[in-house]
């Protein structure tokens, strides 16, 4: 699944950096009806996790009140060069992941 990740390529050690993520998902609320009255079943992303060199640095529980194509931005302290791993988990066995690397000087 398509995901857009924005992590600075380089950072100074100890710098607070912003991480922005965007993934494509319908985030169907489960509260909508079709024109003939049938309820559209819920299909949302329920969990998001970000790991920095294997350690969890940010986690979120998402609900139907999160807009389609969930955008999340958060901060972390750049400690060492390495990899950020992102994981989205949702209804109907949905799972997608992405990663980004950073060089810390």
């Amino acid at each position: 699944m398509a995901a857009l990740i924005n992590v600075p390529a380089k950072a100074r050690r100890g710098e607070i950096i912003e991480i922005r993520t965007l993934t494509s998902h319908i985030m169907e609320t489960g509260f909508r009806h079709t024109a003939d009255g049938a309820l559209v079943p819920r299909d949302i992303i329920t969990n998001f996790t970000c790991r920095y060199n294997g350690a969890e640095i940010f986690r979120a529980d998402l609900f139907p009140a999160i807009a389609a194509n969930p955008y999340l931005s958060f901060f972390t302290v750049a400690k060492e060069s390495g990899k950020f791993e992102f994981e989205w988990i949702g209804d109907n066995g949905y799972s997608s992941s992405a990663s980004a690397s950073i060089t810390v000087e």
Binding site: T29, A35, I57, L62, F63, S73, F74
Partner: protein, 155 residues
Amino acid sequence: MPTTRRQFLNLAGSVSVAGTIPIVTLRPLEATPAMLSAAIRNVVGEAPVRTGKVKLDIPPLVENGNTVPMTVSVASPMTADDHVKSIHVFNEKNPQPNIGNFYLSPSSGRAQVSTRIRLADTQKVVAIARLSDDTFWQVATEIVVTLAACTEEMN
């Protein structure tokens, strides 16, 4: 003695005044709907929630409730001894009261989270932060929504 018109009006007036009192007192004392307070209790338990420290950046007037940019930040040094453990965001009038739970740690550096949310109606949005000393701090903002989200018909 036959009842005069004046006496009758006085009587009718007092009856109608008495009649309105129960209607007024039947209204809920707190404007917060039960679902919202239940969702908040679910997170904070019996702990008191104080107002302050938390800042909620969200447009006061929203044209399209389907995607509303929102930023929550908490005044915190984010050290090992004093940091924000989690941020919980709630709404008052969507079909369900939760918006998102965000879990932070001292390695976050800054207690700030942004996302985009849905709002089904003009309503109150509440953000609650849990600090490392297990105290809870909140902020509530009123938002006017002109085009609702969540429940519209699918085309």
